[in-house]
């Protein structure tokens, strides 16, 4: 069952990574109008960088790892320029009356979320498939 265990671990690592992607998209969406970040500057759109990851298992300890998991390598800030909108009455407006708004496009974030949630579902399906295969195999002994 160790190979199937590895496959489940790989799918589980993908579930965690996709969950992080959804979290980041949600945080981008929630902060689409934030003019003040933690450092006092305008909030910047964040992006998740995914990287391959070796899943610790018996197989990989033997150097025969065929399955590779995924992990969140970094959460980077999108460096595109902030949106500027003219609103002199805003407390965060500069001397020319412009307010810097985050470089976030809500439609883009929605698309990101849909992609991440589909990927999450795909990995759930993989885990269910493996579980079904194992329980079917156990039925061999039930005769």
């Amino acid at each position: 069952m160790s190979t199937l265990n590895t496959a489940v671990s790989v799918a589980a690592s993908a579930l965690s990574a996709e969950r992080t992607r959804i979290e980041v998209a949600v945080s981008n969406l929630a902060n689409a109008g934030s003019t003040r970040g933690a450092d006092g500057k305008t909030y910047r759109r964040r992006d998740v960088v995914l990287a391959t990851d070796t899943v610790r298992s018996f197989d990989s300890a033997l150097g025969a790892a065929s399955a590779t998991g995924v992990k969140v390598a970094a959460i980077v800030e999108d460096q595109t320029a902030a949106r500027r909108s003219f609103d002199p009455s805003h407390p965060d407006a500069d001397s020319e009356g412009f307010v810097e708004l985050p470089n976030i496009n809500p439609a883009e974030e929605m698309v990101d979320m849909v992609g991440a949630s589909r990927a999450y579902q795909a990995n759930l399906t993989a885990i269910n498939l493996i579980r079904d295969l194992v329980s079917r195999s156990l039925e061999l002994g039930r005769a």
Partner: protein, 101 residues
């Protein structure tokens, strides 16, 4: 948690209740049976411990729901496997006991 209690009952049922007579009567092969059975029970117990830890971790907010559920599924499948092996051993034992001498 409640899971632990159930697991402990099942495991002692498998390990000490029904199957301990098998090992002494087996002679040469009996030790192999007993040892592999002990290892099997150990594996089942381990998977239940990790499932327990995963559920606790999820309730503490350290782990994700899917981690806990996968650990529970693993424990369930390992237990089912253990029960199957036990059934096979008991069947073999009863088959031999039914043999007319």
């Amino acid at each position: 948690m409640a899971i632990d209690a159930i697991a402990a009952k099942v495991i002692t049922g498998v390990g000490t209740g029904t199957l301990s007579p098998v090992a002494p009567t087996g002679g040469d092969g009996g030790e192999g049976f007993g040892a592999s059975l002990a290892r099997l029970v150990g594996t089942v117990e381990d998977s239940h411990h990790s499932a327990n830890a995963a559920v606790n971790g999820m309730l503490n907010g350290q782990l994700d729901v899917h981690d806990a559920m996968i650990a529970l599924q693993r424990a369930d499948l390992t237990l089912q496997f253990g029960v199957q092996v036990r059934n096979k051993l008991v069947n073999a034992y009863q088959e031999i006991m039914r043999m007319p001498v």
